[in-house]
Symmetry: C2
Subunit: 123 residues, 2 copies
């Protein structure tokens, strides 16, 4: 029984809301990398990148391991299951909400076409 805590989803979505961090995830999807590698690739200081990696690690998206003086980052065990589940569930809700209201969807289509000249709307 998968029970996702609100806290995890919070930190996960927060982690994903930064373009640098999404970039880091994509980068690590291609190859493992050190802090220095990532800092260089995203044009910021080591300290700055370390913070981002820390956030990703906190969210469970990244694991790191230090060998010698180099800390290597790689994708962690979480594959965004819970976030995918939340979004999927919401999309069902959303679709159901719009399915039920045919008139609204029609209204919406008309609106997108005529670009907001009509204000009269029944709901």
């Amino acid at each position: 029984m998968v029970q996702y805590s609100s806290f995890r989803v919070d930190t996960a979505f927060a982690a994903l809301s930064d373009p640098t961090r999404r970039g880091v995830l994509e980068q690590l999807g291609r190859a493992d990398a050190s802090i220095t590698d990532l800092a260089g690739k995203f044009h910021m200081t080591l300290t700055g990148m370390k913070k981002h990696v820390g956030v990703l690690q906190e969210a469970g998206f990244v694991t790191t391991q230090k060998v010698g003086r180099v800390r290597t980052c790689k994708l962690g065990p979480r594959g965004l299951e819970e976030e995918a589940a939340w979004i999927s569930r919401y999309r069902q809700l959303w679709a159901a909400r719009f399915d039920a209201l045919d008139t609204v969807i029609e209204e919406l289509k008309r609106k997108e076409k005529s670009d907001g000249r009509r204000k009269t709307r029944r709901a």
Copy 2:
């Protein structure tokens, strides 16, 4: 290749990172509501709720309409398409990254199977 604007995804994920706002979305999935309704349901001031609704509106998840003195909120035209796309794409990346590790991929397959069949999970 899907081209999604980084800005939109940023604000979308940021909007979803707050549990109150996710709650509001789920609530609006069940029924439209006024600011006062939502403020009461989530135990905060009108002004506080108005800010949350503003964030959701900015992200395109919610639309509002004022009739008389009541502003009614409803789910907007965006159904998290871009966010679902990003996550789906990342999950593929992630899975490919772990292809080498047999135990993990087995775990993934088992999970995806049960995910696809039964969506019985709650928030």
